[in-house]
Amino acid sequence: MKHRDTDTEGIELDLLVEAIFRKYHYDFRDYSAASLKRRLLQAREYFGCHTFSALQERVMHDATLLPQLLGYLTVQVSEMFRDPSFFRALREQVVPHLRTYPSLKVWVAGCSSGEELYSLAILFREEGLEERTMFYATDINTDALRKAEAGVYDLERISLFTANHQRSGGKSSLSDYYTAAYGAAVFDKTLRKRTVFSDHTLASDAVFAEMQLVCCRNVLIYFNRELQDRAVGLFKDSLVRRGFLGLGSKESLHFSSHAAEFSEFNREERLYQKRQ
């Protein structure tokens, strides 16, 4: 086997990640190493560097490169109502519990460019819960947050979003929520009037409010076990007793140190409920 500790590229990669953390306070040290390396290789190629050391030198001495580098490291491509059966389960099984609260807080952790947030806002409006709900949409990447706040998506993605919305049990037409112009779909800004967009990193920031529902889908797979445990710990601490946690379709608490603190509310759809 190769030893990562002595492999030149492994050393350079570790040093680059350490340098980004020390200089810019973005902490990728506990990201899944294999996919982080692939993304850094793509960034390296984009910046025309032959080694991670060369990329490190450029990033250390030119802070203007940072946003592009962060784009390579953090941007996730999402869809509205991705995994429609998840949203159907949320609508049919979780919403009846949420109705029992006079006011609701929902955290979309790792919201990226906002597709998940708008999906939830539409679902909550359809279910008559929007007016009693505050949404918190957080991400490490401020460029992505700006896109989320703008709520503008390529028109060619809308047919997929529309099909997903229908399959999720949508009670309205997705076209009620956007206007099409110049190849883009601009989503109704009233959908985000009850949303706080905020820069937040699961790697080092703390809990900031008490939630009834946390959605963090296809974010944890990019973390190693330790960082997954930290993130799930934050979700646990921010959830009310019997609050709900929604994960991505291939994420689970199976290998988490917090597994015992949640029950499987809907195993197939990766919906968990905090026990205490």
Binding site: M1, K2, R4, G10, S32, A33, A34, S35, K37, R38, R39, Q76, V77, N218, L220, I221, Y222, N224, R225, Q228, K250, E251, S252, H254, F255
Partner: protein, 204 residues
């Protein structure tokens, strides 16, 4: 030394394929004994809405355990992990598995290149890699990476492959790979069943 690591098997087998590869796997895997001493990771190009039917089908026909790979699952000898549809499967340096939804490679997610390149990083010369029948060039760069890291590379003979594009591309990128028919591959895998289980020695 982390006690969880000391039981980690330090060698592995990776297999990639697409068109026709389900049939090929049905000839290769059912013969393996339940005590097969290596973890096996498989990427086949699946329709994005597949719900684990490939792993279930193979499991019903095999003595080894066949399952869909789970995120952060440790590599386990005798367990065959199949990449779920719509996710890349990667091997971490600590021999756990990761899933990702990064961009498709050659229009494919899961991608064989992504699995093979990460497995080559983790296992180096203790990796066996097999490219089966398929209608895409995915896997060629991955096989080359396995070879560059000192691993063993096998390719299904394009002449006997249902779709020769993938094995041909793999051989063009990695001409050092051995070309084997499916029955020869089956024999080689069976011979691997007699490999001793190699575990990480404690630091001296």
């Amino acid at each position: 030394m982390n006690p969880a690591q000391s039981s980690t098997n330090l060698q592995a087998l990776v297999i990639g394929g697409s068109a026709g590869a389900v049939g090929a796997l049905m000839r290769l895997l059912p013969g393996l004994p339940g005590s097969f001493p290596l973890p096996v990771f498989i990427v086949l190009h699946l329709p994005p809405d597949d719900k684990g039917s490939l792993a279930a089908l193979l499991h019903s026909q095999c003595q080894v355990t066949v399952k869909e790979a789970e995120d952060k699952e440790p590599a386990t000898p005798g367990v065959v992990c199949v990449a779920p549809a719509n996710y890349h499967l990667l091997v971490e340096p600590d021999f756990t598995l990761s899933l990702s939804q990064d961009e498709p490679v050659f229009f494919s997610r899961p991608s064989i290149d992504v699995l093979f390149e990460s497995a080559a990083d983790a296992y180096g010369s203790s990796l066996w890699a097999v490219i089966l029948t398929g209608a895409s060039p995915d896997g060629a760069a991955g096989l080359k990476a396995v070879h560059a890291a000192g691993g063993k590379t096998w390719v299904q003979d394009p002449a006997t492959a249902e779709a020769p594009t993938m094995p041909r591309a793999a051989l063009a990128a990695c001409p050092e790979a051995r070309v084997l028919s499916l029955s020869e591959l089956a024999q080689e895998l069976l011979a691997m069943a007699d490999l001793p289980t190699v575990k990480e020695a404690s630091h001296s």
